[in-house]
Each structure stands twice: as structure tokens, then as C-alpha cells.
Amino acid sequence: MAESVWVLGASMTKIARYPDKDVIDLASEAALNALDDGGVAMRDMQVMGMGNMFQAMAGLGQSVQQQIGQTGIPVYNVVSACATGAVAVRTVFLSIMAGEADMGIAIGAEQMGKMGLLGPGGSAKSEKNVYEPSGRYGSVIGAEGILGTTLMPGVFAQAGMEYAYEHDGVGFDQFAKVAEKNHAHSVLNPLAQYQKAFSFEEIKEARMIAYPNTLPMCCPSGDGAAAVVLVSDSKLKTLSKEQQRRAVKIGASVLTSDPYAERAQVQPDVNTLTRNAAKIAYEKAGIGPDELDLVELHDCFATAELLHYDNLGLCEPGGAGAFIDSGAPWRDGKTPVNVSGGLLSKGHPIGMTGAAGVFEITTQLRGEAGDRQIEGAKVGMAHVIGLGSSCAIHILEKAAA
């Protein structure tokens, strides 16, 4: 249990629409590339974590093994909404910490097909012929749009507006600035689904989806996969100098769900579980937010990113508006946030995202991020939230030279 766990290999596909590939193709491509990147093969893996949401029932891990190597190892097929990929990473991490494996691979993959912003849950109310109450609320008709909204754009818009209600200096302009930053960052990332900058005015004047989020303030739908190979400390010591040099240490790996909160009965609370996860992660890694050289956080909507500046302690309490106004989270600012372009522009294939964040931080700490490299980055954080809810935080650290 005293062992450290390291990222030995990492990869992600470019996020895009892949009408000719199935989710197994995407997962296989990411897995094979992560194995190659780590200088290892499926026969070296002792456990697999597989994260996927829209085909969760199928248990895809074994299907991926059937495509890239069947060695009989345990597979954990996990799902936890937008945090799914990170939970897959966690199952491999746990297996190593439990002493059951010294090397394993985690994959997050999603083939979203033609789903739009509202997802598969966005169906119209279907009226019955004769009203009969059903379900946990005794509903007689679908309530979406009648008793407010439960769809993501509105939910995250409301989460942002609640922060605006509680804190001064937060409004439409601050949310728009988040999107301006992330789209600008994505121009440097060839793996991003979109690589197009938008001006502050273009963002504010774009088509409104759910005030205060306009279209470029909402993440797109896309397909993709990411994979990471994890290795125990003791096993890493037996590998080549080059593998050791490129390995990135997991300083903290934390998973939380949402504790009880009164209002969460009607509006998911994305804050408390992130605050709890951050607190544990900083303690485990033995660092504070000031020591983070970069952060990839869960900007499914521009409103969400702003909340997490505060939740992760990147700004003063209540100061998320001033933080974005000051330029601090830009790539040349105090704490670069979402230099990959974030979910807003890099893209957000649901099951992939949690693994893609670990890939991005790993790549940056290795100094292999190309045009989007944050020079001298030594410590980074990858954060994701899946509604329902789960929050996963990984703090990664560059190996000592």
C-alpha cells in the first residue's frame, strides 16, 4: 500500500466524428498507442479498466481485449457519466495499490454517433392516453420543460447563475471570457475537435442555448478514446532509463460522490464533491493549489469552469469572476486552465474525457505537448465530474531528474 503508481504510457485519439469506426476501434487505437508509448504490450498488463457510457451494458473491456490481446486478465467495465474514464483509471490504480497487479491499462472511449447537445435523454414528453401517476414523483406526463429543465445545458447554466447569485462580479461577461480562453487555447492543440478562436463579442452574440451559455459556451458532441498504462513503483524500477524518465507520478488519485445537500434534490450540486475531492487530493499529494503548473478541469459548459476555479482553490473564495477577469487561467497566466482547449473546444466524448485529462497532464509534464506546451510544467491536475454524481481528481508530478 505504500507504493506509488506511475503513468508509463498515454495516448488519445483526435476527437472528431468517426462515422466509419465503432467504439471498439477507437478504444483499440488508444490502447495500442498507449502500450506503444509505454514500451509495453498487452501481455505485460495484469488488469484492464474500461470506461464507456453509451454502450455500458455491453461491457466493452472484453471486446477490446478480443481485438488487441486476450490474456485472461481481470476487466472492470465502469460507468459514471462524464467521469467514466477517470473511474476506469481508478480501478487500475486500486488494483496496483492492492498488490494484485504491477501494471495495467485504463481506457475511456465513446462513440456518440449522431447525438446532439441534449443527449439521448432529451426526448419529448410522451403523453399517455389516460393519466396514471408513475415513478418516484408520481408523474402523469413528462415534466421536462414544464417544471423547469433537467437537461445539461440548463442544469449547468443554473449552476453558474447560482454562483452569480452568491458572489459579486460574476455574470454573462465572465462566463463568456471562459469560452473565449478555451477556444483560443484549442488553436494550438491538433487533437482538439475544433481549433478555432472566437472573439469575446462573437461568443456573446452567438446563438443562445441556455442563458447564460451561448453555443460556443457549450461542449460539442464528438467521438474518441484515450488510454493510460499505469505501473507500480517497484516494477518501474525494473524498466529502462528512458521509460523511467518519461514516467509521470500519480501524486493523488481521488474519487468522491456528492454528499447530501438540501437543494441537490432539485439541482445537482457540482461544488461540494469537487471541494471534497480537491481537499483530499492536495493532502495526499502534499501540495497546495499554488503549486499547480496547469489544470485540466471539467468545462462541459463555460459556467461550470468558473465554479471550479473556486472549488479547486485556484482563486480566492468567491473570486472566480475576478480570476477570469485577471487573465490568470490563460496559458500565459498564473494558473493555466484547460490549455488543451477544454471540453468546450477539445471536445467531450463522455466515456473518454476522464482518461483524456490524465493524458493531457502527462504529456505536458513530459514536455511533449508541442505548440501547446506549458514550459517547465512539473505538477498538474486533471479534474472531471459526472453528474449523478462523481468527481475524480488526479494530481500528477514530473519525475525527479
Binding site: 414523483y137 440548463g154 442563458y211 447564460p212 447530501y260
Partner: protein
């Protein structure tokens, strides 16, 4: 804890936590131990784990804690409309549409005072009306 159908003549509430009649209002399951409030059918209390509940009628007035103006909605839902979270006076929060207000950020404001109103959300083949609720500005 299964919902009781409170069918009023030819009307039925859209959800069983809406009580119709002369003074329509919302009602919640209240944990006997910790007083936590819930609108859904319960197995136990998420806050304290207790397994017995009473019921509590909630106020029909409150303030807008948060809102979003929805311009892209599920098929069949007219847009724009305002979804909001209302903190009810005396306790309890609820999600509902805001009505009788222009759906733009000049007219909908955080902290505005609102009151409960009901409306017909649909009619079934027997002529029974589904009654929903919303909140509207009050002075």
C-alpha cells in the same frame, strides 16, 4: 410511500407533490429525524439514514435562487422559457418554470420574489387535465 392519486374531479396533479384544491401548494416528505425534505418516493433519508417520514406542506412564496433561459429544448417544448430554482419561504427548494415574465435577462433577475401558480399542462383521452405548477413574479 407510493404516491396517492389526488384526482380532483377531472383534474390530476402532474406530480404527486403538488396538492390541488382551493389553495394549491407543494408538499414534501419530511424525515422524522433530521427534517430533511424530499419530493420523491423514499427508501431512507439521504442525510441521516432514518427510514420514517412525515409530510410537510411548503409555502407558496419564495425567491429565485437561480435561473436559465432555455432557447434550445427537447422536441415539443416551446422556447424560450425560463427554468428556475426557487427557495421557498420557510424551507424547501423547487425547480419550476417562471411565467408571466419576459424571458430575457433584463426582466428575470436573481433574488426576485415569486409565487406559485397552477396551469393546465395537458388533457388525456378521458378529458382529465394534468395540472402543473410554475412561479410568477409577485410584488
Amino acid at each position: 410511500m407510493t404516491g396517492i392519486v389526488r384526482r380532483m374531479g377531472k383534474q390530476i396533479p402532474i406530480v404527486d407533490y403538488l396538492v390541488l384544491g382551493d389553495a394549491p401548494h407543494l408538499t414534501a416528505h419530511e424525515c422524522k429525524e433530521c427534517k430533511a425534505l424530499y419530493f420523491d418516493r423514499r427508501n431512507a433519508c439521504a442525510q441521516c439514514g432514518a427510514r420514517t417520514f412525515g409530510s410537510r406542506d411548503l409555502a407558496t412564496s419564495g425567491v429565485v435562487r437561480s435561473f436559465s433561459i432555455i432557447h434550445q429544448a427537447a422536441p415539443g417544448v416551446p422556447v424560450p422559457y425560463v427554468s428556475s430554482i426557487v427557495d421557498l419561504d420557510g424551507g424547501g427548494s423547487v425547480k419550476a418554470n417562471l411565467t408571466k415574465v419576459e424571458p430575457d435577462p433584463e426582466h428575470v433577475t436573481l433574488g426576485m420574489k415569486v409565487g406559485l401558480a397552477t396551469f393546465v399542462a395537458g388533457t388525456d383521452d378521458d378529458g382529465t387535465e394534468a395540472i402543473a405548477f410554475a412561479f410568477e413574479p409577485v410584488a
